[in-house]
């Protein structure tokens, strides 16, 4: 904020010499103040959110302490609450979603940006934006009515027959559970990855491609070794946008995850996510401790998002340096 406001006026020689009053009269200062307030409101809302979650969960925090993160029991009647199964479910479903969505999304983005004719690319982009705007409850319905039966009757029995020796594919095939939730989430976040990655790939300067081609590389080599590394930071950004959506998704997940606070290595097992349990139980949570434990779960989700976002920043910083290094080579 401050760097841009000091560098911008200095670009015009006259601006710096004007007095505050004249800047106020001519409106520059007013615009600066107003836009500053708008920008500051984002920070304010974030702080307010943390404050409210922190205040709202005071009883639960004091009662459970750090054991909240390690407790597996969620029993409203006994007043015992632990976040572990919900953290587990949130992370597992998001990881499954990314494992599916990242290769698919980036592959599609490469096709649209590098290989497809402009008209095809633009038409498909229209559909992708449309998909990104579909409300999550619709994806939930799609998941419940289409993906769940498909999983139960075809995919899960097949996985069991072929990969059943792995701990991930054991147990009864209900059709719902971690794997199904991950797949529905993947369907939801793919449009984000494609859309953002395509834009980033398209913005890679033309001379990068031409230089690679001039050096005798094939089309694929120029794409994979030059264009994609150049756009790496942006692609990472799209992945973390997708991760953020997957972590916080509520409606679609609760419809297909099975809503059972269980921790299991098997992806066929029903599970639960943080956002889903808050949405399910908050309206009927009575007493003092129970709603507070749910609010504390909200705080945990916020923390989880915060940590993952921080990691993402570091990752982007690290890889963008490497990316530009490769661009220079």
């Amino acid at each position: 904020m401050s760097t841009s406001s000091t560098t911008l006026p200095s670009s015009g020689p006259l601006v710096g010499s004007r007095s505050f009053l004249s800047r106020l009269r001519e409106g520059d200062e007013i615009v600066r103040l107003i836009t500053f307030l708008f920008a500051a409101s984002v920070v304010l809302i974030t702080l307010l959110l943390v404050f409210e979650l922190w205040q709202g969960s005071v009883l639960a925090r004091h009662k459970f302490g750090f054991a909240f993160f390690a407790t597996r029991v969620w029993d409203p009647n006994a007043g015992e609450f632990g976040a572990l199964p919900f953290i587990f479910g949130t992370l597992v479903t998001s990881i499954v979603a990314l494992l599916i969505a990242v290769p698919l999304g980036i592959g599609a983005a490469i096709f649209l940006a590098e290989l497809a004719p402009a008209r095809v690319s633009d038409t498909l982009e229209f559909f992708i934006d449309l998909l990104a705007a579909v409300p999550s409850v619709i994806y939930g319905l799609l998941g419940f009515l289409f993906v769940v039966p498909l999983m139960r009757d075809y995919i899960q029995p097949r996985l069991k027959d072929t990969l059943g020796f792995l701990p991930f594919f054991k147990g009864p095939a209900y059709g719902i559970g971690f794997l199904t939730a991950g797949i529905v989430l993947a369907i939801m976040v793919i449009p984000y990855i494609i859309s953002v990655s395509r834009e980033v790939l398209l913005s890679v300067p033309r001379d990068q491609r031409e230089a690679a081609l001039a050096l005798g590389s094939t089309r694929w080599e120029s794409t994979w070794k030059v264009v994609v590394p150049f756009a790496r930071a942006g692609i990472m950004g799209s992945i973390f946008l997708a991760l953020a959506r997957a972590l916080g998704e509520t409606m679609a997940v609760t419809m297909v995850i099975g809503n059972t606070p269980a921790i299991s290595a098997s992806l066929f097992s029903p599970g639960y996510s943080i956002a889903a349990v808050i949405a399910n139980e908050f309206s009927e949570a009575t007493g003092d401790l129970y709603p507070q434990a749910l609010i504390e779960l909200g705080l945990v989700l916020f923390l989880l998002t915060f940590i993952l976002n921080g990691l993402a920043r570091i990752l982007i910083l690290a890889t963008s340096q490497r990316g530009s290094g490769m661009g220079n080579a």
Binding site: G258, T260, N280, A285
Partner: protein, 342 residues
């Protein structure tokens, strides 16, 4: 542009005029189970007395108790009676008590999807608690088969489905299981959400019904109204007199009548596993929660007027919407209790 603005202004004016004409708006919040009934009643009552408009938000029983305790609404509504701590919290905050008024009755039924079985199954209390505790895992378990002679039950695993969202339906179901099984009472207990020993969670009646319908050998519980309206198969349940009762509105009212004799003065009574030959055992009242004192006399009179009407003429609207009406013993008792509102 100008024309649009004029139309908007006229609309706003009209809305304000309508608001001004309705001198009295009463707000309530709470249970979602009786919401279709309440919204019909409030609508009909508004037609009868256009000066009174009752605005009800179905935010859930827990929310209803919370809001009426905080004083943000004029009355609350709940599928489970308030417990002693909650009553005390209200008394401490306001200095007077809150009263319970039963309005209609609901019931919860066991529903299932067993390929090849089309007859109504009979469930004993032992079978229901055993299945939900995870002790009975196969359909051909003697505890189930014993009550269903002649039905060819498969040896498949039962897929138990319960509600994942906190709900009055779950409260009634677990209240019943707590009464008939000490094991359930000690291990799980009753509540809008509990720590389920087994099973998958579906969101809402439609979530449970959907999972049961989709999953072969599925077994779950839904509201009677939902089962009737969606023509779902549901089983009979053995009541405290030993008779297997298929839930219907008459059976639910019978359960309430059976409980009416021992009805406490504050109406906080559970009628699950109620006495009576025809009583359906998994039934419950749903209650309005009304403060015993109003600072605004016109509001007090309006609410009392509504409850009086609801107990008399209002009960005729219940059966078309698949709610069971109150037995007359309870109506008479409530009429008396209305005097307690000052």
């Amino acid at each position: 542009m100008k024309r649009i603005a004029a139309v908007l202004l006229a609309g706003l004016g009209l809305a304000l005029a309508v608001l001004a004409a309705n001198a009295l708006t009463i707000t309530g919040a709470g249970a979602s189970f009786p919401y279709p009934m309440y919204s019909k009643w409030f609508d009909e009552y508004h037609k009868k007395d256009t000066n009174i408009e009752i605005n009800y938000q179905s935010i859930g029983s827990g929310g209803g108790i919370k809001q009426v305790t905080e004083g943000t609404v004029d009355f609350g509504a709940s599928d489970g009676p308030m417990n002693d701590d909650q009553l005390k919290a209200f008394q401490d905050k306001h200095g007077f008590a809150i009263l319970h008024f039963p309005t209609v009755l609901g019931a919860v039924v066991p529903t299932y999807n067993i390929p090849g079985v089309t007859t109504d199954l009979n469930f004993t209390p032992e079978a229901l608690s055993g299945i939900f505790l995870g002790k009975i895992t196969k359909w051909n378990d003697p505890a189930i088969a014993g009550a269903n002679k002649g039905v060819n039950l498969p040896g498949n695993d039962i897929v138990v489905v319960h509600r994942s969202d906190g709900s009055g339906t779950t409260y009634i179901w677990t209240d019943y299981l707590s009464k008939i099984s000490d094991d359930w009472k000690n291990k799980v207990g009753k509540g809008a959400s509990v720590n389920w020993p087994v099973g998958l969670g579906g969101k809402g009646n439609e979530g449970v019904a959907g999972l049961v319908k989709q999953t072969a050998n599925g077994f779950g519980y839904v509201e009677l109204i939902y089962a009737i309206q969606n023509k779902m198969p549901y089983g009979t349940v053995k009541n405290s007199s030993g008779a297997f009762i298929k839930a219907d509105l008459a059976g639910v009212t019978a359960a309430a009548a059976g409980a009416a004799k021992s009805m406490p003065d504050d109406f906080r009574v559970s009628i699950t596993n109620a006495p009576g030959k025809a009583a359906y055992p998994i039934s419950s009242f749903t209650w309005l929660l009304i403060p015993s004192k109003f600072s605004d006399a016109s509001k007090r009179d309006a609410i009392k007027g509504f409850v009086k009407w609801m107990l008399a003429d209002g009960q005729n609207y219940t059966e078309p919407l698949s709610y069971a009406k109150l037995p007359k013993e309870v109506v008479a008792k409530e009429m008396k209790a209305l005097d307690g509102i000052q």
